[in-house]
Amino acid sequence: MPRNSVTKTRLRNGLTVVLKSVHTAPVASFWVWYRVGSRHERTGRTGSSHWVEHMQFKGTAAFPADSVERAVSRVGGVWNAMTWIDWTAYFETMPADQIDLALQLEADRMVNSRYTNADVQSERTVIISERQGSENQPTFLLSEEVQAAAFRVHPYHHEVLGDQVDIETMTRADLYAHYRAHYAPNNAIIVAVGDFKTTPMLKRIRALFGAAPKRDDPRLFVRPEPIQRGERRVQLEGEGQTAYLQAAYHAPAATDPDFFPMIVLDSILAGASSFNLFGGGISNKTSRLYRALVLTELAAGFSGNLAATVDPYLYSITCAVRAESTLRQVEAALDEEMQRATAIPPSDDELAKAKKQARAMFAYSAESVSNLGFWYGFAEILDEYTWFTNYLERLDTVTAADVQRVAQKVLPNSNRTVGHYIPAGA
């Protein structure tokens, strides 16, 4: 895939456009990314970015909700949206000859969404249900507590879904104000990947999106997290028979030079994983933590999670504790591995393996235009699309000494929050 085949431009109203032709299948994926997520929410309005995403499916005068759903589905398209701490993204993946519908729809709802009171009320119950469904999972409850303890100041403090009380009390005016403040061409990125010609696609994007009015840049709510001075611990009691442990370490942001060594460290500790929300990870049974936690029969399973984020976020390890072992034993085994990673640099084999795994996962994700659309947009939010296209090269330059240095920075206990979920039925 030649790198120069990506076209990036900026329209006069500030809209960033990234286009990539891929002619392997008669399909195309169209994405609009907004630089707004739960990190931009103040107390009292937590969850507004996610709720706004729901409201964006409620239709406009030109595209009433039912007619859009129908039009996209009729041609076999898929469309969806996702909200995360740093961003909100909308996409349609369609047979290539139908992709214009996605352009029309997204240009329209960037500006013209209705936000009726009735829709706000019915969506309130849907979002409360979504929160209740999440609360059914002990690991959701645990990570919500850990995240809140890890971020005292930064708005990464709260869950994307928002706090229950805010979902209950937010008004139509709150949501509409959030939409108006953040949904503007100068705060958005368009990505199109698939079976189309770049020149007519760009012309069509100019025609449909060029008229969207530029708005004042949103006044962002940014409160950097002060340095953590000592380990924090939270304990949570709940239903079930299984105990869970989560250890979350403050980790470098995606644009920090230390982020790429951190990717290698994560691969070595917890196995290779993809940042892509569509999955694509491989098994982790030769990772250090699998050997230390699962082969020793302390944990039934574990996962490592490194997120690529705008501000420094968390590197977290979550374990399901086996009935015959204890949280304390699992934590001790975890501590030992983390100390080893800081004391000794990884072997050449471990380094080479992490790099080859990344290459394979890149190849897998390139099979799908939706995956590629995700990657280009995600990289633009974090930095530039070249963050993605240069990813393997940058990973290749990581040395064993880099990995050890980053481990020494990230993995000390004083940099982490440990959460214990203690089941009532144990």
Binding site: P26, R74, I128, Q137, A323, Q357
Partner: protein, 429 residues
């Protein structure tokens, strides 16, 4: 059909671009080259599913499949996984009701290694005792987690209630704490020795490898495999009569949401109205934002966070399920709304627009489903397993387009009845 649609159909997998070859030992290989991707996907089915284990040994087939990766005559657990993971490949063994098998992917340069490892795990597993106990412990923890998962418990309870707890489609093939605790090393070894073999095995390879090379590699690693003990394929199980409705509730105190499965027997994959059921189900709970259920249960009435339906066909009777996650206080209202939709679909004609929409959706979705190597491999495996014919995708447009509104209503009326259903709900009360 217009020109662009028929061009689209030409690019789909079909007799003109799939190689199908049966080896003397009974393995059928299906291969399709995709030069656009540097990767290759493998998907293999063996008739070693849980239908051969029996309720008293629930979980044995799955336990056996999971143990295949835990050590072989030539390689330890660590060595098996090091080979796979060190090149960023994946390989997993798993098992369903009829078939088990393995699936994986790798960069094309590692396909030979992937197939060599796959052959080693299915042909030469050693079932190391320490790994049996380790895996048993992990499985028992998983079953304890399942007992507190409302979605999983609603599904489990539904299948037990619909088919009956001893039916191969009824009980859980992950097993239960008592059956998993009782499985011995001898059980596992014997299950593998008896049921893993090349008879009617299917291997699908899709990706950056020529179809001849793919067939050769399967011959190289599996061509000399034989198993004289392998029994004939199990007959498809029967369904039982549903005399009235059955209502089961699983109480899991402390939960905040109730998950519901409300359903019926579905079609067999070989039933002549299978595609009519598929279209009917699309109208009920798939099309757009989850069809009529999405409109009337989730959206209009705000009763549920999610609400959709699924119709699955198998060798034996399938299932047709309406699934929802609701506030515990709204369970009865949601069930009433779901039953009203069942009545409407079984007694009244769908609108011409609804029918046209769902036909167009099912056919229009094909290019997306077949975009990736995995999508193509899964489709080819199903085509072979159910004997649908290599030209299945080419024939599908006519099959779907010829369906009438009356066909949809008859298919729904044959299977759905708002007075005879099985309901499973798991939640706090």
């Amino acid at each position: 059909m217009n020109t662009s649609a028929s061009t689209g159909m030409q690019s789909l997998p079909g007799p003109h671009n799939i190689t199908r070859h049966t080896l003397p030992n009974g393995i059928t290989v299906l291969a399709r080259e995709n030069p656009n991707s540097p990767a290759v996907v493998v998907d293999a089915s063996i008739h070693a599913g849980s239908i051969y284990e029996g309720r008293s040994h629930a979980g044995l087939a799955n336990f056996t499949a999971a143990m295949l990766m835990r050590g072989t005559r030539d390689a330890s657990f660590d060595q098996v996984h090091e080979r796979i993971e060190s090149v960023g490949a994946s390989l997993g063994s798993s098992c369903g009701v009829h078939t088990g098998g393995f699936g994986g992917k790798a960069l094309a340069e590692d396909l030979d290694m992937l197939l060599a490892t796959a052959a080693d795990i299915v042909r030469n597993p050693t079932f190391p005792a320490d790994h049996i106990e380790r895996l048993r412990g992990e499985t028992l923890t998983g079953l304890a987690m399942r007992a507190h998962n409302t979605r999983a418990m609603a599904a489990l309870t539904f299948y037990e209630a619909l088919f009956g707890g001893d039916h191969p489609y009824g009980y859980s093939n992950d097993g239960y704490p008592d059956t998993v605790a009782a499985i011995t090393r001898t059980d596992l070894k014997q299950y593998q020795q008896k049921h893993y073999g090349p008879a009617e095995m299917i291997v699908v390879i899709v990706g950056s490898v020529s179809t001849q090379a793919a067939v050769k590699l399967v011959e190289k690693h599996f061509g000399d495999w034989g198993n004289a003990r392998q029994p004939p394929r199990a007959p498809a199980p029967a369904e039982r009569a549903l005399n009235g409705s059955e209502n089961r509730r699983v109480q899991i105190p402390g939960k905040t949401q109730t998950d519901i499965v409300l359903g019926f027997f579905g079609p067999r994959r070989s039933d002549s109205d299978f595609q009519a059921v598929r279209v009917a189900n699309s109208i009920l709970g798939v099309f757009g934002m989850y069809g009529r259920l999405g409109q009337n249960v989730r959206k209009k009435r705000g009763l549920a966070y999610y609400s959709f339906s699924r119709a699955d066909g198998n060798f034996g009777p399938g299932t047709w399920r309406l699934i929802a996650g609701v506030n515990p206080e709204k369970v009865d209202t949601a069930i009433a709304a779901m039953l009203a939709e069942i009545d409407r679909l079984a007694t009244r004609l769908v609108t011409p627009t609804e029918l046209a929409d769902s036909k167009s959706f099912i056919l229009g979705r094909l290019p997306l489903q077949l975009e990736t190597n995995e999508g193509v491999a899964g489709t080819l495996a199903a085509i072979e397993l159910h004997g649908l014919g290599l030209d299945y995708l080419q024939r599908l447009p006519d099959q779907i387009n010829s369906l009438t509104r009356a066909n949809i209503r008859s298919a729904a009326a044959r299977l759905l009845d708002s007075k005879k259903y099985v309901l499973a709900a798991a939640g706090p009360e």
